[in-house]
């Protein structure tokens, strides 16, 4: 035993340098493999974000070197009437769009889930808005809402049916213009919700529905107590992702309204662009975009915590 222990000890000591060497080699290999990712993360995420935060503390004007001004950009925007309108518009635009996408996405998933025939065809069809170029979507919706008869789709149809005496200028009022951009954003985004929910619904075991039916649950109760809890995680993820994409949206509003009429549809991205590129005030332009970051971080942290807690 002692001998064998001695032999083992000798083997151990003989193996140790080898294992240390191999461990070092493994670490080296790991670092080598991780390096491209590290460079990408630092180069494409950490540095630009650090640079943006730094610029927001400066009075950077295009073509001039930046000077540190502390929180002056944040204070300026806090007191700026237009920025307050921008915050309000961004919230309305984001919440309105996400709520519509959630409801119609859920409806789309329920209908497709209950349909076996042509399901794949319809799934593909519903994905069309998601894969169409945003600029095309925005131009199309702008045309749909145009108020001149013979040009705007809705007005032409309503006038031809005799339901209207005179065309409605949908985009001429703040409410109408906001509704128009929300509709365009909703139309582009709801298939993402629908396809995600459909996939999640298909993963809910059929036995659960059967058990609920045996217990006397009707279709509404089955939806409420089986389907919805089964979709909880995917719903949170889709809402969070869509919230981030929508609050950062630029194309639809820029193409459809340019933030108008007046500043009625001006949101973070379009106002930031205006200030940074037209007024050449980069520091302030970046600050506009950064204003929403704390809100997004809080949202992401809360949702992640919730998801992880549920998993545990």
């Amino acid at each position: 035993m002692a001998e064998s222990a001695g032999v083992a000890g000798a083997e151990d000591s003989a193996r140790r340098p080898v294992s240390r060497r191999s461990s070092r080699r493994d670490t080296g290999t790991a670092v080598l493999f991780l390096l491209p990712l590290f460079v990408l993360v630092v180069g494409l995420i950490v540095y630009p974000f650090y640079r943006a935060v730094w610029l927001s503390f400066t009075d950077k004007l295009v073509g001039y070197p930046e000077r540190f001004i502390g929180l002056r950009n944040y204070i300026y925007l806090f007191n700026d009437d237009t920025f307050r309108t921008v915050v309000k518009n961004s919230v309305v635009f984001t919440l309105g769009s996400v709520a519509l996408k959630l409801l119609t996405g859920l409806g789309m998933a329920l209908v497709l889930h209950a349909t076996w025939r042509w399901r794949n065809f319809f799934r593909g069809l519903f994905l069309l808005p998601w894969i169409t170029s945003t600029v095309i979507i925005a131009l199309t919706w702008r045309w749909m809402f145009d108020s001149f008869p013979g040009r705007g789709f809705f007005n032409s149809v309503l006038l031809d049916l005799g339901l209207l005496g005179r065309p409605i200028a949908f985009m001429a009022t703040p409410e109408g213009a906001m509704a128009a951009v929300i509709v365009a954003n909703w139309w582009r985004g709801f298939p993402f919700f629908g396809v995600s929910y459909l996939a999640a619904m298909q993963s809910i075991p059929l036995e659960t529905y059967e058990a609920a039916s045996v217990d006397g649950a009707g279709s509404w109760r089955r939806f409420w107590h089986v389907t919805l809890p089964g979709l909880k995680h995917i719903m949170i993820v889709t809402i969070l992702l869509s919230f981030i994409w929508t609050i950062n949206d630029f194309n639809i509003i820029y193409v459809m309204t340019r933030g108008g009429p007046g500043t009625a549809t001006q949101v973070f991205a379009t106002y930031s662009y205006d200030v940074a590129f037209n007024s050449l005030r980069w520091g302030r332009g970046v600050t506009i975009s950064l204003y929403m970051v704390p809100l997004l971080i809080v949202g992401i942290v809360l949702v992640s915590r919730y998801l992880l807690r549920d998993k545990d």
């Binding site: 295009v62 073509g63 009437d81």
Partner: protein
């Protein structure tokens, strides 16, 4: 090849007169030297009038062929002009030569991006002549010349002659006349409106707002280019005109939402009787006629062309002052070969090249240098509309009138505050005083931070 060149020259010299011919000769002698194989980047504006874009590109290519050099032509549009220059400045990838709009020389010179062209401009003056006194200050900053003026792209007041004749109203000459005409021809039940003018975020919006202000004697800067308040009774008159046209029902309800081409489309579609626009409307109508496929279509389009009238931009109680886009050429400090860049600019500014570009411009391109203007006289004598186009420089006033164009004045225009002010009254139902107060505060803040 040489013979062909000479014959073209002879032809153009005939059109231009003796002065142009002299200019060509002297330019050739004084043109800056160009090394063989030189490669330049030229940025030019892409307008709605496609033939003009091609003509400018062709002019640059002719220079390249002549000197055994290369020119890579890149376009920017009105929409992405700022974005493209801003990105290039920050990335230090500015072109050798760039076409600059009214406010750009002041802005870019202030950033130290442009080469001082004071002595080169004197050389050009000797060869092609001077720009008019009202245009020259656009390219001069702090007594130094940073760009060479080329042409003016102005907005005119377009009306349908037959519509006005039917209503027995006179052609409008002032802003107030235009409103009277609009009331007289307005037929909202038929979806036909007396006027279509948008306070949008394009030059159709902020440009007309400046013409309206300056023609009422209102400027946010004084003669020295320093801030002055716009909280005046005259500005109230300006705002009243700007907002009443929306309240009176003489414009389509969605006019404020029109983007760049909304007014062109609605005028050409005969949904409105009057609008402010550049000669791209004339281009569209002439182009449509050229593409007519049968006799009936041809007749209709001929009538439309004959019926559309481009009037001088409207005057106000203080005179006729028309804001316009004054295009110039600047050479960026980053240029690897400034001598070649100057040679290219001299080539493009020569009366013969200017006239060649202008002939493909449908009146949009009104040259400003003396000899080029002389050479352009015959072209602009084509009809009454063209005669009006040819006078663009006469009424021109720059951004920041009555002062010089400054970086702060250019930012006032770019910040859209001038059109946001009437929009606040029209959309948000603010009282006029509050909207003026809002605009004045924004303008003062711009001057306080940028200087001036």
């Amino acid at each position: 090849m040489r013979e062909a060149r000479l014959s073209r020259r002879t032809f153009l010299a005939g059109a231009a007169g003796a002065s142009a011919a002299l200019a060509v000769g002297s330019r050739a002698a004084a043109a800056p030297a160009v090394k063989k194989g030189t490669s330049l980047r030229l940025w030019i504006l892409k307008t709605y009038v496609e033939p003009t874009n091609k003509a400018i590109e062709a002019s640059a290519k002719r220079w390249a062929e002549k000197h055994g050099a290369a020119v890579s032509v890149e376009y920017f549009t009105f929409e992405d002009m700022q974005t493209k220059y801003v990105a290039a400045i920050e990335n230090k990838s500015t072109p050798d030569v760039g076409q600059l709009e009214t406010g750009a020389p002041a802005r870019f010179a202030g950033m130290g991006q442009l080469l001082d062209l004071t002595s080169f401009s004197r050389q050009i003056e000797g060869e092609v002549g001077k720009p008019p006194a009202n245009v020259a200050p656009v390219t001069v900053v702090g007594g130094k010349t940073y760009a060479i003026p080329w042409y003016i792209m102005a907005g005119f007041w377009y009306v349908w002659h037959d519509v006005l004749a039917k209503a027995k109203v006179k052609m409008p000459s002032t802003f107030d006349d235009a409103v009277k005409v609009a009331h007289a021809v307005n037929r909202p039940k038929d979806n036909f409106y007396g006027m279509g003018h948008s306070w949008n975020r394009t030059s159709d919006g902020y440009g007309v707002m400046q013409s309206l202000m300056y023609s009422h004697g209102v400027g946010w800067a004084n003669k020295a280019g320093k801030y002055q308040s716009i909280k005046t009774p005259r500005m109230q008159q300006v705002m009243k005109w700007a907002t009443d046209i929306y309240k009176d029902g003489i414009q389509p309800a969605d006019t404020l939402t029109w983007t760049g081409s909304g007014n062109n489309e609605n005028f050409i579609a005969r949904n409105i009787a009057q609008t402010s626009n550049g000669p791209s409307i004339t281009f569209a109508l002439e182009n449509a006629l050229a593409k007519a496929t049968d006799a009936k279509e041809r007749k209709q389009r001929e009538e439309a062309l004959a019926n559309h009238v481009a009037l001088p931009h409207l005057a106000g109680p203080d005179g006729r002052r028309m804001w316009a886009i004054a295009m110039s050429f600047g050479i960026f400090k980053n240029s690897k070969d400034p001598e070649a860049a100057m040679s290219l600019v001299a080539h493009m500014l020569s009366p013969e090249e200017t006239v060649r570009v202008m002939q493909d411009s449908y009146g949009q391109f009104a040259p400003v240098l003396d000899k080029a203007r002389t050479a352009a006289k015959e072209y602009f004598n084509k009809n009454e509309n063209y005669r009006t186009f040819g006078r663009a420089a006469e009424w021109f006033v720059p951004t920041g009138w009555p002062g010089p164009v400054t970086a702060a004045a250019a930012e006032v225009q770019a910040s859209n505050v001038l059109t946001d002010a009437p929009a606040k009254v029209i959309i948000d139902k603010w009282p006029i005083d509050r909207a003026i107060e809002f605009a004045d505060k924004k303008i003062k803040e711009i001057y306080d931070t940028i200087g001036g």
